[in-house]
């Protein structure tokens, strides 16, 4: 049975509204997680790539340039994901932990 058949149009609208709008604290959390934690993630990603790719023979400057290019491709989907997830608290925390983890990893490398 398809998901569509399980959900009446009115139920769909109500549920969608709860995902899209949510209460103000949830909206703020989505925003902060997407842009804020996302920033930590891409900063950590650039640093990790800049530190690890040279061990595979890529010059450090090139590794950092590549990391910066990729970071911009990653940042937008992160923000879009945080705007659309049905579990913003859990996913926002996971994103924050990922950012902290990447930064810690970059420091270790």
């Amino acid at each position: 049975m398809s998901v569509y058949r399980e959900t009446s149009p009115s139920a769909l609208t109500d549920r969608s509204r709860s995902i899209a709008l949510g209460a103000a604290p949830v909206s703020i959390w989505r925003f902060l997680s997407g842009f804020g934690s996302g920033y930590f993630v891409i900063s950590g990603l650039v640093a990790v790539l800049g530190s690890t790719l040279p061990t595979m023979g890529l010059p450090k400057g090139e590794a950092v340039s590549l990391g910066t290019l990729l970071a911009l491709f990653v940042y937008v989907p992160i923000c879009l994901f945080m705007f659309s997830t049905t579990r913003p608290w859990r996913d926002g925390l996971a994103l924050l932990m990922a950012g902290i983890g990447l930064i810690a990893l970059a420091k270790l490398v």
Binding site: S16, F35, I42, L45, V64, T68, L72, L80
Partner: protein, 522 residues
């Protein structure tokens, strides 16, 4: 699966609406100033008439320019020449004074003499920096705001694609005679889709240009936090040693330039020219001379080569060329800067930028029109967005017009409240923008038409004032080969006519809407 898609679409609609409303004003300002920046050199020629010099075929001698440069520049730790080109025919000299402040001069490329110019920041000094910093320099706040807005723009573009499901059908639909709300949405969709690849390119490349500034920790960490090492490896930056205090004369800078260009040309297989010539630690044993091809005319990529020579001996110290990934990144940035020599593409960039302005303005208008019935017209949120929309759209155009008119009206020695002439022009811009915002807040819907008429008056006055104060009216400019000046006048005339047309349309639309409101409901 369908449920997930529908939910995602609604979430995207929410993000699209609120990011657009919150940042539409900033995005419009950035797109507007970016569109003007495409012609920043032409704006410079218009606002600083003394630089409308004839093009010179004679090669510039930097040895001569160094010998003739102002006394205050001798011994400076940073002396920088920007070579002349077709769009900017004088040599620009920057140097850092003993007190750390920068000074700039225009030099005649033939005689090397300083040209006394109108004190104005013009296009390259105000409009271009406004585009990426909003000229808010405290803690680089403006650059961060613009970066955030650019990221939001990418999210708006992606989310916009999701929420407009009938994307192909909507591309062909524009119904200007339908209700304002419908016509606004049609125009928003049309302007979005026509320029979509351009908006992606321009926003992404803008973010990438300042990627190293926006991610300072991430890019410096692999170098142990040493940013000098980072920029040396990625951009060929060179740090000279400390000044020794022992004066020394420079070897021939022209000979060094020739050597740098021949090295680059042999590597590239075609002629490559240096357009940045920089002397660090001038008049000292530790002096170095630095050459770069920042804005080549025959290729998209920026700053492909850097060569550094020892100042005293003229010996090559460093020859840097961009490695492959850096080259790709510099190509994307070059596609944003659009400094290569391609006039049809330059005009397309300008039109693309204006298309972005239309897209943003119609997005804001659609928010207002779709809430006219739902929100009380006097609610704070509605009035706030309304004032910000009018202030951001026609307000910044009014301010730009006032900036140009002030440039032609202020006396050469203008000085007021500790501000020089160039700063006063900028103050006129900000005060006009503020006045437009207040006007929009007070007069609401009626201010659209009045501000359109004001734009027309300012644009027309600017053309007249240029003719009266410089003698270079559009026909004289055309006859004298001053294409940039004639183009500026032509664009201003077109702007005036468009503003009058818009004012008339707005008047008839308002009347029609009022009539519709008064008509009995059947």
């Amino acid at each position: 699966m369908i449920r997930a898609t529908e939910e995602f679409r609604r979430a995207m609609n929410w993000a699209h609406t609120w990011l657009g409303v919150a940042l539409g004003g900033v995005l419009f300002a950035v797109f507007w100033m970016g569109s003007l920046t495409v012609f920043d050199s032409e704006i410079d020629r218009w606002m600083i008439p003394e630089t409308r010099v004839a093009p010179s075929e004679q090669a510039v001698s930097y040895d001569r320019l160094l010998a003739l440069m102002p006394k205050a520049a001798v011994g400076s730790d940073y002396v920088n020449f920007v070579a002349p080109e077709e769009r900017s025919r004088t040599v620009t000299l920057f140097y850092r004074g003993a007190d750390g402040t920068f000074h700039d001069f225009h030099l005649d490329p033939v005689t090397g003499q300083e040209i006394g110019v109108t004190d104005s920041l013009a296009g390259t000094g105000f409009i271009y920096p406004f585009h990426h910093t909003l000229t808010i320099y405290w803690a680089s706040l403006g650059m961060w705001i613009v970066g955030f807005a650019a990221l939001a723009m990418l999210i708006l573009l992606v989310s916009g694609l999701y929420i407009h499901r009938k994307i192909i059908a909507e591309f062909f639909v524009f119904r200007p005679r339908r209700k304002t709300r419908r016509a606004t949405l049609d125009l928003h969709n049309l302007s979005s889709l026509v320029g979509l690849p351009f908006y992606f390119l321009i926003t992404f490349s803008g973010l990438l240009t300042f990627g190293f500034y926006y991610l300072p920790w991430g890019v410096a960490e692999p170098f142990g936090g040493d940013t000098d090492a980072l920029y040396a490896e990625t951009a060929g930056a060179f740090q000279p040693g400390d000044r020794t205090g022992r004066p020394a004369s420079l070897a021939s800078v022209d000979a060094m330039k020739q050597e740098a260009e021949s090295l680059w040309s042999s590597e590239e297989g075609v002629k490559v020219e240096a357009n940045i010539i920089r002397v660090l630690n001038h008049d000292d044993e530790s002096a170095v001379v630095y050459f770069r091809n920042t804005f080549p005319k025959d290729r998209v990529v920026l700053s492909e080569y850097v060569a550094v020579f020892d100042g005293a001996s003229g010996k090559l110290l460093q020859n840097f060329s961009l490695p492959p990934i850096g080259h790709a990144s510099a190509w994307v940035q070059g596609a944003h800067f659009m400094q290569f020599d391609h006039w049809p593409l330059r005009w397309l960039y300008f039109l693309g930028g204006l298309g972005g302005c239309v897209m943003i303005a119609t997005g804001l208008l659609f928010w207002l029109k779709s809430r006219e019935g739902k929100l009380a017209a006097n609610s704070i949120e509605y009035r706030l967005v309304e004032a910000l929309t009018i202030g951001s759209v026609t307000g910044i155009i009014v301010a730009t017009g006032a900036f140009l008119v002030a440039n032609r009206l202020l006396p050469h020695d203008a000085f007021f409240l500790g501000e020089g002439r160039a700063e006063l022009e900028v103050q006129v811009f900000w005060l006009s923008w503020l006045a437009a915002l207040i006007h929009a807040t007070l007069l609401r819907d009626r201010s659209w038409k009045q501000q359109c008429l004001l734009i027309a008056a300012l644009a027309f006055s600017a053309v007249m004032l240029n003719a009266l104060t410089t003698g270079d009216h559009i026909f004289a400019a055309l006859a004298g080969g001053q294409w940039g000046v004639a183009g500026m006048d032509g664009i201003l005339m077109l702007a005036a006519l468009s503003a009058i047309w818009s004012a008339n349309k707005l008047a008839s639309k308002t009347n029609a809407d009022n009539f519709a409101t008064l008509a009995p409901v059947e």
